[in-house]
């Protein structure tokens, strides 16, 4: 469903997220982090980046029909994520409003492990403008 049709408070279906050691290494290389140890632990921000990319895609914001700008970001990490570990992403649209021709939306994500413990959370404010 397009972003403009979703009410604030909308909850997305939970999604599974697994980041392999190879994927963690590709992420570390891409950001230029030579001190990362992707075989042992996933770079902390990679988890949030993977989750945010998914929801931007789900909302149809990555197809070139709109301009998307990342305005602010909050994250918290409770523990490292190991490569291959299965997480569940629980995401909700915290806010969604149009002001002066721009849409402001906040996506909140909680990353939960197999035992139900929260390992990380994030809140992303994005601005969407028609192109």
């Amino acid at each position: 469903m397009p972003l403009q049709d979703l009410p604030a408070g909308h909850e997305f279906p939970p999604e599974s997220l697994v980041i392999s050691a190879t994927e963690a290494a590709a992420y570390a290389a891409a950001v230029g982090d030579t001190s990362a140890q992707p075989a042992e632990r996933v770079p902390s921000m990679a988890v949030v980046a993977a989750g945010l990319s998914r929801f931007i895609k789900h909302l149809g914001l990555a197809d070139g029909t709109v301009e998307v700008v990342h305005a602010s970001q909050e994250v918290s990490f409770n523990r490292p994520v190991t490569p291959g570990e299965t997480l569940e992403i629980r995401a909700a649209l915290k806010s969604n409003a149009e002001r002066r021709g721009s849409r402001f939306a906040t996506v909140e994500m909680i990353f939960v492990d197999g035992s139900g413990e929260e390992v990380a959370s994030a809140s992303s404010l994005i601005l969407v403008n028609a192109t």
Binding site: V18, I19, S20, T22, E23, A24, A26, Y27, A29, A30, V31, G32, D33, S35, A36, R41, P43, S44, M45, A46, V48, A49, A50, L52, S53, R54, I56, K57, L61, A62, G64, E67, V68, V69, H70, A71, S72, Q73, E74, V75, S76, F77, N78, R79, P80, T82, P83, G84, E85, T86, G114, S115, T131
Partner: protein
Amino acid sequence: MTIQPGDMLDSIDRTVTQAQVEAYADAAGDHNPIHLDAEFAAKTPFGRRIAHGMLTLAMVSEMLTSAYPNNWASGGRLKVRFRAPVFPGETVHVTGEVKKVTESDGGRLAEITVGVKKDDGEDVITGQAFVQLDRPLFNYSTLRERPEVPEEPGI
């Protein structure tokens, strides 16, 4: 670990390239054309392709990981604003300064001012990080057995 206000974290200076932006798009699964499509980006207010904000933010997390190898990943918090885009070819400077260390029953909490600037001093990212300095280190043995997963491109 002795940490006090005024302590500077080891900074990171890095030039962002278009090749890096493209590698990041694949690695993070974010193929928004504003980062990749020169023709599309030319029509935006930025006038050209920009790096992902999360790519630049990854450098802030890298700095915090280097400074606090265990405590950042276990109990770290970060709140930032993206102030300006980074264009491929630009060099960014990532810094962190301990502003405050507070003590409570739970141990010490460091508040760190973090920032990313361009060569000309323009702010790219501004914000605060919080690190619990005395939190018990994460015990990997508490994790369940690591599952076998297929190697698929992109995260």
